[in-house]
Structure formats: C-alpha cells, structure tokens
C-alpha cells in the first residue's frame, strides 16, 4: 500500500492532459485511484482538500461496499449460470468430464420433443392459474381480516375478531420446507389412508373421493392446490399490511357514500394496493414456474400419471440425472430461464403506470 503512494509522489511532473485545463493531471488521477483503495484515514492530504474529494469519497465508499457482495455473487451465482449456457451447447452426459461441442443441436431437438412441450404446457398453466388463485384468496382473506368485522362505534371499518390469530395460523405453511410440505401432502392425498378421502367418507360424500394424484384430469390441480396452500398465508399477511397502510378515512368516505363492502374492495382497496399485488404476482409466478420439489416428491412417476403433472424443472432433472443427458437438460434449463425472464419483463412493463398516492 505504501508502495502505491510513493509511486505517485515520485511523479510530480506528470504529463498534462491534452485538453481542458480544468481537468486533473495524470498524477492526480493516479492519486485518486490510489485513494480509492485506501482506508479513509490514509487519504493523502492533497486529495483530502481537493474539491472533488467529496465525489471521490462517495465512489470509494460505493466500491468498497459493493466489491465483496458483487464478487461473491459473480463467482458463485452468475458464473455458474454462464457456464450452464456453455454446457447447453454440448453433448455432456453429466457422468464424466468428457464432452463435445454440438452447437444448437440441443435446442433444435427440443422442438420435436413431445415431453418437453407437455412440461411447458403444464408449467404455463401453473404460471397463469396459481397466482390468480393464490392472490385472489390472499386478497379475499386479507380484506376480510381487515374490514370484515362488525362495525364498532368509533371506527368506519374494523377487522374480524381474532384477525391476528388467523394471520399467524395462515402463515404456518410458509415456514416449512417444501420437502416437508411435499411429504405431508403426499400422505394427505393418499387415496386409502389419507385424511382427505377419509373426511369425505365421514361426511357422506363417498362419491367425491378421488385418486387425487392418480387421475390425470385432476392431478395437476392437486399439485397446484398445494402450491397455493403454501403461499396464501404469505399474501394474506402482505396484503393485510398493505391494506393497513391505507388511511382509514378513505374507507370512511366510501362507506359514508353507501358503498357495499365488495364495492369498497374493488373501487377503493384494490386500486390502492395494486402495486403490492403486482410485486406479489411476479414473486408467485416465479414460484409457480419452479415447483420442482412438490411435483418431484408427490406425484406418480415424478410428473405423472402420463405427463399430466410434468413441469419443466422436473423434466430437466430427469433428463440430467435419470438418463445422463446433462447437456440437453441445461438447454431445457436455459429455455426455462428465458420464459421466467419474459414473464417478469411483461409483468414489470404492465406495472409501469402511475402509482396512486395517498
């Protein structure tokens, strides 16, 4: 470190910059550069009293604070993804370090791969339906908790009694590992010893009992329900918080105007918290597109019956590990990543509108 400073000191006659007398000399640049990597207390005096020091101090701070997180992130997160892109252009089996570059073959192969398309179809269904259901129920519950209570004297709206208790319980599934959720719901759906069919039998709805995961027509929806089940609590809490920050007098005005509660919800509440809803939508969409563990643990043949619950991440996993086609699997993963990005981009574009201030 001391080396640096001395090196700068030794060059007082640094060549002047070509134009703009206003600009600092080359030596100054070096000095500034050196200062960037020094702790503040070692800042050379010459720099410290320079009028640009404030700017320099700012950039020094910025780069110091960013370098470790960025480095870690780049090495452990970004670079593996770039490597994955490379693997997607090879015929790597995943079992040895021996592979050939095959260009875009993996990508063209995907077009004729029925299983791949089946997985995309299921993933897209999840992407579209799961957020609607989850956010819809989340909004409903949150509104009920926030404004569903009996009117009390001093308040225009009031939450139901025990709202806090509801919120705490609703959040339970969110804190569990997906692996646990998968195993638990696998047992719940069990057609013979599972409690779901048993409940139906007890209440006399024997005809409603189902092979929840073995009937290809409902298996995907059984999976989807578990996904929604996991996340609804999160959205109830999130939306309650958002609704709680809406000033009460807005409700008051609406209710004084004689608006019913559903009307209040759609005319007042929803527009006011629309921003939060959209952020939640993106997050839920990403969760729905993943959906690996639930499908992998719960369903028949991991994605069955047939291809009825096969989602893209599970297909990727199978290709990579069951049949030793890691190259092809990474190509599938790249496509999945692109779909996720397109989805997010669309949602972000849609959310680019004026926020409602309150």
């Amino acid at each position: 470190m001391a080396n640096d400073v001395r090196a700068v000191d030794k060059s007082p006659t640094a060549p002047a910059p070509r134009k703009g007398g206003d600009r600092a000399s080359f030596g100054d640049y070096l000095l500034f550069a050196a200062t960037l990597v020094l702790p503040p207390r070692f800042t050379p005096k010459k720099v410290k009293y320079n009028r640009r020091y404030r700017t320099l101090d700012k950039y020094r701070f910025i780069s110091w604070f960013l370098v470790v997180p960025l480095l870690l992130y780049a090495v452990l997160v970004i670079s593996p993804f770039f490597q994955a892109f490379y693997y997607s252009l090879t015929d790597w089996s995943g079992y040895s370090s021996d592979f050939n570059y095959i260009g875009l073959d993996n990508y063209t192969r995907m077009f004729e791969d029925d299983d791949f398309w089946a997985s995309i179809k299921n993933s897209v269904v999840l992407l579209v339906v799961a957020p609607v259901v989850t956010l819809g129920l989340g909004l409903f519950f949150a509104f009920m908790l926030q404004a569903g209570g009996r009117h009390r004297k001093s308040e225009a709206i009031s939450g139901v009694r025990g709202a806090k208790f509801f919120k705490v319980v609703y959040f339970f599934p969110q804190v569990l590992s997906v692996a646990i959720v998968g195993v638990v719901w696998g047992s719940v759906y069990d057609p013979i010893t599972g409690p779901l069919n048993e409940v139906l039998r007890i209440v006399g709805l024997e005809s409603w009992t189902q092979g929840w995961l073995s009937d290809p027509n409902i298996a995907l929806y059984s999976v989807m329900f578990v996904m929604c089940w996991m996340f609804i609590g999160f959205y109830v809490v999130l939306f309650s918080a958002a609704m709680g920050s809406v000033p009460k007098d807005i409700y008051e005005a609406a209710l004084l105007d004689g608006a019913s509660r559903p009307k209040t919800f759609f005319r007042v509440t929803l527009p006011l918290i629309w921003d939060t809803v959209q952020t939640g939508w993106i997050y839920m969409g990403i969760q729905a597109l993943d959906g690996f563990a639930i499908v992998y643990i719960m369903t028949i043949n991991a994605g069955g019956p047939g291809n009825s619950t096969l989602v893209t991440p599970v297909y990727l996993y199978k290709k990579a590990f069951d049949v030793g086609q890691a190259g092809y699997a990474t190509a599938v993963g790249v496509v999945l990543l692109i779909i996720t990005m397109i989805f997010t981009a669309i949602m972000m574009l849609l959310s680019r509108r004026e926020r409602i201030e309150f």
């Binding site: 470190m1 080396n3 640096d4 990597v37 370098v67 480095l71 780049a74 090495v75 970004i78 670079s79 770039f82 490597q83 490379y86 015929d91 089996s93 995943g94 079992y95 040895s96 370090s97 021996d98 592979f99 192969r109 029925d114 759906y189 069990d190 057609p191 013979i192 010893t193 069919n197 092979g211 929840w212 995961l213 073995s214 009937d215 290809p216 028949i300 043949n301 994605g303 069955g304 019956p305 047939g306 199978k318 590990f321 069951d322 049949v323 030793g324 086609q325 092809y328």
Partner: protein, 473 residues
C-alpha cells in the same frame, strides 16, 4: 504475486474470471486426457503381487472404499463381508446411503470414486451412460479368478444363468455384477387362498373366478404399486411371453417396429383390463406407492400383488405370522399359451460396479470375490431373505416361506425363464412410458388399444432418438 492490495485484488478478479470463463475450456482439456486413458493414474495405489491366494494382485496394504445402497437389503451383509476382506487385505471404508446418484455422481465426475459402488435404488446412476463414458472397469479379471465358493471353478462358472448377460451392455465384457437373484411373479398369502378354499389360478378364467370369490368376501383381487407402475411389468412381461412366446419380448427389447402390436401384447393387456373393468382392483390403488400396496396386501385387503422376491424382507414389519407368503409364476391366459405355466421372470439384480478411476480397482474386484464366497452368500441369504447370483449358494440354508417358494418356482421353471432387457437398456421407456401406459389403463383412463398404441409410439420415438445408445439381443 505483488505486494500491493491492487495487485491482490486484480489477482482475485483474475481467478474469478478464470473460474467463470476459463474453467470451461479447462474442462475440455481435462477431458482430452480422460477419454484416452485413465488420467488419474497418479492417484492409483500400487498393484500387489499376484499369487494363488491373491489372484487379482491386490495391494495388501491399500484400503478399499465401498459404498452400499441402504435400501431393502440394508447394509449389514456388506459390513460382514468387510471383515472377511480385511483378514487378508487393507481396511475397508464403509459408507451407505439411499441416494447413490446424488452422492456418487459428483465423485465420478471429479475422478475420485470409491472402489465399489452398489449402484441401486430409485436414484441410481445410469449405468449405460457411465459405460459409454468409460467410467466403469470391466470385471473380466474377476470372472476368471478362482471362486471362493468352490476353488476348483472360476467365479464365472459359479454364476447363475443370465447374470453375465445382464451385466454386459452391448459388448461381451461384464461391467456390472448383479449380486442378488430376484424371482418376480404374483405374490399371495397361502392362508388367504386356503380361507377362500381355492387353488392358485393357472389360467385367466380361473383367475377371474378367484377374484370374483374374493370380492364376495369383501376382498379385492389385486393391488399394486400405483405410484411406481413398472411393478406391473413383473407379471405383465412374462405373461406376454407365455401367450406369444419369448420372441415377442425379444422383439420388444430390440425396439422392432410394431413389436408391441403383436397379438400377445393385446391379449395380455385385455386380460388385465378385465380385472379393472370387473372391479377386482383395490380401490385407490392407482395412487399408492409400493409400501402402501404391500401394507394393504399384508393386511388382507387384496389377494394378489405383482412384486419381486425382496418383498418378503421389505414387508416384514407388517406381515402377520400366519401369512404364508408365496410367489407363483404369473397366471397364464388359456390352453393355447406358447409357454408353460411355470414360465416366470427371474434375473440377477442389485448391481455392483467398480469405477474405472477408483484408486484400488483390484481391491474392489477382490471385495466382490469375497462377496461371492460361501461365507458371504449364505450370510446374505440369511440376513435379507434373498437368493444370490451364485449357483447352489442357498442349498441347505433354511429359508423363510416366501423365499423357499421363490426357489421352488425357480427350480420348476427350469429353462423357461424370461428376462426382458428393457429395464436395463431403456430405463425411461420401461419405467415411465410403458409403466405409465399400463398405469393409465389399470386406472381406467384409457382402453387396452390405446395403451398398446402408447407403448408402440414410445418405443418408436426412442428408436428414432439418436442421443440414446441402442442395444440388440
């Protein structure tokens, strides 16, 4: 390396960049040596001197590392074998897991695998890909070494029929040794049949009659592992062979065009579909896993169960004492069957392999030789109630009910043993496509015609897929 922080930092960045970008070409360079010969020659232990006692030339000091699949057979049998091995050679490092692939695949890629892998279970490594990548040592030296069971014979001569064929993939060298010998068939409780006052049905009409009788008693005829529908193949494949002859299965294995459209396949599917149509399948079966199906079966809720001879050990905890577990060859169709009733599917199973890049390849093979000795084979049979791939190894050993019926069925079958190769060669086709089609049919989602069509289409798709290696028999 410079002394200034600037240089250090640049160095760090350089290393990061090297990982992100250079690591990929680096891998290909590394692979260049890997594909030629063993690149990990440096890591290997020195070979020992070959003697009569030590025919494989194992280094007496070097240790060996063995990884066991901790499934239905547990790992005690292996631990016992370690003791025998350690009498003559180095220490054995033992590990067991249910997730062979997750734990072993990284080590295979890195080139520091253990010396023996029991590559088994639902999450095993795709052996065909491993052989393709030259990751597996051939076991010819082991086969030619004298057997520890009968020293006048070689290991090869002591193997049951089909063991070597099952462990070769396309070539003639043995890569994977299947240690256990499994008998597949229709499993039932003799006690339950006695209660119904019926004999085990030999033709399909008899089968339907037995199921009808069971239904009257409030008992389902069949249950199976709906979540793993390939269990159904254990009786379905030999049933097809029985109706149409062993060549039908051969054609299916060879992915011949229209192999699935053979009349025998259709007849077999129709017969099983009748079980479904007549309501002889335990309600809820399509959605249960193998353990659940076995539990329902041992509880007496269903009469028949397609399974393999490991079921006796796996269902031990729930089996009533007077159950009298028995296996019989799959019921035939009628008098016009091409093969006799005794025909069944039996084959070596529970695969073991020695990685080519293992440090102590000879030690790994020697450990397998120990496993095929008298002490280990009989210990295995006693411990886990399963037969081994060594001829006559279970003679004189007292066997539990299910296993002794399996041995009797095997003896009765004589030459009439079929062993389809689809599960080894094209696992995905067998497990997901064919299994899935049968599952859909048995769940009532599709008709037998459609199931046949699906199987044929899956086979055709696979046959046209260049990325998968094809085999012929």
């Amino acid at each position: 390396m410079g002394s200034t922080s600037d240089v250090n930092r640049r160095d760090v960045i350089k290393r990061a960049a090297a990982l992100g970008l250079v690591a990929v070409p680096g891998m290909t360079a590394l692979s260049a040596c890997a594909s030629g010969s063993d690149d990990s020659g440096d890591d290997k232990v020195d070979k020992g001197k070959k003697t009569d006692e030590n025919p494989l030339g194992v280094n007496k000091e070097a240790g060996a590392e063995v990884v066991i699949f901790n499934g239905g057979y547990g790992d005690q049998y292996a631990k016992d074998a370690h003791k025998v091995y350690e009498k003559s050679y180095g220490k054995v490092k033992h590990a067991s897991t249910q997730k062979i692939r997750t734990k072993m695949q990284p080590r295979m890629v890195k080139g520091n695998p253990p010396d023996v892998i029991n590559n088994s279970g639902a999450e095993n490594m795709d052996i065909a890909s491993l052989i393709e990548d030259k990751q597996v040592a051939d076991l010819e030296a082991l086969l030619d070494a004298p057997s520890l069971f009968d020293s006048s014979k070689t290991v090869r001569e002591m193997l049951l029929p089909g063991v070597v064929e099952k462990g070769t993939f396309g070539g003639d060298k043995l890569y994977q040794l299947n240690y256990s010998y499994t008998v597949y068939g229709t499993w039932y409780s003799q006690t339950a049949l006695d209660k119904l006052e019926v004999e085990y049905p030999k033709t399909w009409d008899e089968m339907l009659a037995v199921c009808a009788k069971a239904k009257k008693e409030g008992m389902a005829g069949w249950t199976y592992a709906g979540k793993h529908p390939y269990y159904f193949a254990f009786t379905m494949y030999p049933f097809i062979a029985k109706i149409g002859g062993a060549d039908v299965l051969k054609a299916i294995d060879n992915l011949e065009p229209d192999a699935w459209k053979h009349e025998a396949v259709k007849k077999a599917f129709d017969a099983y579909y009748e079980l479904r149509a007549k309501g002889y399948i335990l309600k809820g079966t399509p959605g249960i896993d193998h353990i659940q199906s076995q539990t329902q079966w041992t509880k007496g809720n269903a009469l028949f169960l397609p399974n393999g001879s490991w079921v006796e050990n796996e269902a031990r905890k729930t089996t009533p004492k007077d159950f009298k577990m028995t296996v019989a060859p799959p019921t035939g169709l009628d008098k016009s069957d091409a093969m006799p009733f005794e025909t069944l599917w039996a084959e070596a199973s529970e695969p073991f392999m020695v990685p080519a890049k293992a440090k102590n390849v000879e030690g790994g093979m020697e450990w397998l030789r120990v496993m095929m000795g008298k002490e280990s084979t009989q210990n295995f049979t006693k411990l886990v109630s399963a037969l081994t791939c060594v001829k006559g190894a279970a003679d004189g050993v007292e066997l539990p009910s299910g296993l002794s019926s399996a041995k009797a069925a095997l003896d009765a079958a004589g030459e009439n043993i079929v062993s389809p190769r689809l599960p080894d060669w094209y696992l995905q086709l067998h497990k997901e496509k064919v299994g899935g089609a049968i599952a859909a049919m048995m769940a009532g989602d599709i008709k037998p015609d459609e199931a046949v069509k699906r199987c044929q289409k899956a086979a055709d798709d696979l046959s046209g897929d260049d990325s998968i290696k094809k085999y012929k028999r």
